[in-house]
């Protein structure tokens, strides 16, 4: 019976009688232990996670942030382009009109009264960031936190809007850089990504 082979790489297993050296198993055990011992002196490929963190790639896309401008006003104007660009349909927006006296809170006449991202649906593709005409939504370097219940993954404006007085740089929450230079990424230290 001929079996169709796709790769010609398969090996046919043949049972043969073991030699004496093989049947006492000790040489095999020692050579196995040698491999283990050799790895003690090699560079480790893991890190002690909560204490040590690997730097992310520059293009890493983590949880979202809704930016404020230099005057602390929200950039988002609820145009809905992120929601229509979202392939996972994770974004829900309800718009509202800015009232008199709220000019310091919202940059434009219209703002997002509700802005929700379902983090269980989100695939972190970054299309919302790409679609945004107002520079409002960015995917930061933080990962979305874990939680026990599903409703905790619906991120509202309380979790998304950039806290007042934090960085103007899109990707991080880091404080303002004084000499007005954009935030420079540090070189990754001794770990490869």
């Amino acid at each position: 019976m001929s079996v169709l082979s796709l790769t010609n790489r398969k090996k046919v297993l043949q049972k043969r009688k073991l030699t004496f050296a093989e049947s006492i198993y000790l040489p095999a055990i020692f050579s196995g232990l040698m491999i283990t011992i050799r790895h003690f002196f090699r560079r480790k490929s893991t890190v002690q996670y909560p204490e040590v963190k690997k730097p992310f790639s520059k293009v890493f896309r983590g949880r979202h942030i809704l930016k404020r401008d230099e005057q602390g006003r929200e950039n988002c104007t609820a145009c809905g382009l992120c929601a229509v660009a979202c392939p996972a349909e994770a974004i829900t927006i309800v718009a509202a009109e800015r009232k008199k006296g709220e000019e310091h809170l919202y940059r434009e006449e219209k703002y997002a009264a509700v802005y929700e991202i379902n983090m269980l649906r989100c695939i972190f593709c970054g299309l919302c960031e790409e679609a945004c005409p107002k520079d409002a939504i960015y995917l930061t370097e933080e990962t979305a936190p874990a939680s026990y219940s599903r409703k905790d993954f619906i991120f509202g404006k309380d979790k998304l809007v950039q806290p007042l007085g934090t960085s103007a740089h899109p990707k991080t929450f880091k404080p303002y850089v004084k000499d007005n230079k954009p935030y420079q990424y540090k070189n990754p230290v001794n770990t490869k990504i």
Binding site: T77, A78, C79, G80, L81, A83, V84, E89, A95, A96, E97, E108, E109, K110, P133, K134
Partner: protein, 320 residues
């Protein structure tokens, strides 16, 4: 009369304009029009987006016309030959026209309720350049309240006069018009008198940009999140045939039905447009047809939206 537009020849009645002859042929050779509206008498001739090149005046006088002509206002002559998209001059001129139309336009599409169904957006996308060269201040106006149903954003207006013609011809008493001249021209109501005619809401539908928008729909949703459904009701004032834009089981806004040139088929009254927002008010017939290239069709392939597409290709879901 025989007229040839971009190589397509058609026989038309004397007195037909080049634009209408092109619309009879159909397809991509139809010049865009921002101010011309087939349902409104005397409209057209203002925006200059429908400029075409006449390469042969007529059979009798075959000389070409020296300048580009507005196709919505120029009637055909026997044996006339017209170039629209095949003419470099026309495309170049149209690019210039779009640039001029956008000079004073605020480009606030993210806020504007018209975004997604705006003719100026389509026109600029197709014929305009990606960047503006204009550096000066854009013109601004004081906000004028023209009533509780219609919102006027004068900065977005392109002075097409469609709304004025609508008010003149559809409603029985026009209370708004164009004030001032030239650069300072603006639509307004005399002494800010509110527009409260029964058919005044149609100005919203004929407005090619977001200058006149529905206040009852203002900032409620974006047009691509709502589903257009053909609906009708018994109305003693108008035909009662409209499109209701639904979000789930809610009617967010009501507009008139439009044809493929986005012109209103039957004008509807203000009661239908602004006051009947309950599903029980309407007999919903089915999804309205929308172009599959329109953003309104985005994410709606399987949600009961009829998407027009060539049947041979098998796209869309236009099951008859």
């Amino acid at each position: 009369m025989k007229v040839t537009i971009d190589g397509h020849t058609i026989d038309v009645e004397p007195g037909t304009t080049i634009l209408n002859a092109a619309r009879m042929i159909g397809g991509e050779i139809v010049p865009p029009a921002m101010c011309y509206y087939s349902k409104l008498k005397d409209s057209g001739g203002k925006c200059r987006t429908c400029l075409v090149e006449v390469t042969k005046g007529s059979e009798k006088d075959p000389r070409p016309m020296p300048k580009l002509v507005a196709s919505c206002r120029t009637t055909v002559m026997d044996g006339m030959e017209v170039k629209n998209i095949t003419s470099e001059r026309v495309l170049e001129a149209r690019k210039g026209v779009v640039e001029f139309l956008l000079i004073n336009h605020p480009l606030d599409c993210p806020i504007c309720d018209q975004a997604g169904e705006c003719h100026l957006q389509d026109l600029a996308y197709e014929h305009g350049t990606a960047k503006t060269r204009y550096e000066e201040e854009r013109r601004t106006f004081d906000q004028i309240d023209i009533g509780d149903k219609i919102k006027l954003h004068m900065t977005r207006c392109i002075m097409c006069f469609r709304c004025v013609f609508t008010a003149d011809q559809i409603t029985d008493k026009r209370v708004h018009g164009v004030l001032y001249r030239g650069d300072a021209a603006e639509i307004g109501t005399y002494i800010e008198k509110a527009i409260d005619n029964d058919f005044s809401g149609n100005m919203i539908d004929v407005c090619p940009v977001g200058a006149l928008t529905d206040k009852t729909f203002r900032f409620k949703s974006r047009v691509w999140f709502v589903k257009p459904m053909n609906a009708s009701r018994d109305c003693d004032k108008c035909c009662g045939k409209a499109v209701v834009w639904m979000y789930g089981n809610e009617i967010y806004r009501v507009t008139a039905r439009k044809d493929k040139y986005d012109e209103v088929v039957d004008f509807i009254c203000n009661t239908c447009r602004f006051d009947k927002k309950q599903v029980s008010d309407w007999n919903i017939e089915g999804p309205a047809e929308i172009n599959r290239h329109s953003v309104i069709s985005a994410n709606k392939y399987k949600k009961g939206i009829k998407v027009t597409a060539p049947k041979v290709l098998g796209y869309g879901n236009n099951v008859d």
